[in-house]
Amino acid sequence: MENNMPNPGAKPVDTKQIKEMLNRKKGKMKRYLSHCAHCSLCAESCFLYMEHHKDPQYMPSYKAINSLGKLYRKRGKVDRKLLTEMKGIVWRNCVLCGRCYCPIGIHIPSMIAFARSILRSQDVYPQLDEVFSESWL
């Protein structure tokens, strides 16, 4: 069973801090997000996509749009439930191997890595026991 439940004892989400972090890299990340043509040509470059029977959830663009893209769209006003959902996208569905290829030249790993940093700032990251549980692999 995947542990996607928010921790009841966790501190409240610091949306101000998220917004500050988003603003710091806004110039680069918002351009990357807005120039993505949603062509899905990055799909086959991801070994996880290929290994998961071409499940669209593992497409590099899908992962970037539904993590960092969502954070920008909501201007950082997110709750812990959403951050916990993103945790699966940026840690379980991506290993940051850096092999994803975008024909336009968008650097997708830097977007996922940035999403991870934001999540980590809110104490959302995989726990050791999760990492080694079967559901995580």
Binding site: K25, G27, K28, R31, S34, H35, C36, A37, H38, C39, S40, L41, A43, E44, S45, K54, P56, Q57, M59, S61, Y62, I65, G98, Y101, C102, P103, I104, G105, I106, H107, S110
Partner: protein, 219 residues
């Protein structure tokens, strides 16, 4: 209103298009800086290969590229982008208008040829639309905005095709054609169509593994 669309708005759209691209270019150079050092370019060792070995080497290098993983999309998108830029620039009607207003024009392709090329652009757009509608992986990341962008790109070509063949009411179709072209020019610098400029900046100037050139700038 029609006079505005056929007159002043053309200049306004052109100015917004050019200034918008310049603004994006300046922003890009402000946001990126020159790297302290860059990786030396990869060098292919000169080996004594026969012509056949070279051909095999070149085709072997395509393995793992988009030519190998998605050849149909690669061909369609390449053809589409060449004609998307080329057809409006080398269209006889556009060049005659340019000559009338500015006294300068570019070479023009024969009308029968640009007519076919316009149709090719429309077929490519229909292919992209079909991918968005029927392919699960494209649908997963498609929003209403993507359809609007397809419409913005397709409208000038569709109305241009109608106008050339004088289908429907010519004047109305022509006005819509001009308006569609203006909307496209205005939206290029500020929407995902901006990849027209940023493709070159990302692939040639920003240094990463997939850069076509040395890529001496970093964010």
């Amino acid at each position: 209103m029609v006079d505005f669309i056929r007159g002043q708005l053309i200049s306004i759209a052109l100015i917004i298009f050019i200034l918008g691209l310049i603004f994006q270019l300046i922003q890009f150079f402000r946001l990126t800086k020159k790297k302290e050092w860059v990786y030396p370019p990869l060098e292919i060792k000169s080996e004594n290969k026969s012509a056949g070995q070279w051909v095999a080497f070149c085709f072997g290098s395509l393995k793992g590229t988009l030519w190998k993983t998605d050849p149909l999309v690669t061909i369609v998108t390449s053809v589409f982008h060449v004609f998307l830029i080329g057809v409006p620039i080398f269209l006889l009607g556009h060049n005659i208008l340019l000559d009338h207003s500015w006294g300068l024009s570019l070479w023009s392709l024969p009308e029968s040829m640009t007519d076919i090329f316009t149709l090719v652009v429309l077929i490519c757009l229909a292919f992209f639309l079909a991918r968005r509608l029927f392919l699960a992986r494209v649908r997963a990341i498609t929003t209403l905005y993507d359809y609007v962008i397809l419409l913005i790109v397709g409208a000038p070509f569709l109305t241009g095709y109608f106008a050339y063949h004088q289908w429907f009411h010519y004047d109305t179709v022509m006005t819509i054609h001009i308006l569609a072209g203006e909307v496209m020019l205005i939206t290029i610098p500020f929407t995902k169509l901006g990849h027209m400029l940023f493709f070159f900046l990302y692939r040639f100037l920003v240094g990463n593994e997939y850069s076509f050139a040395k890529g001496a700038r970093a964010w």
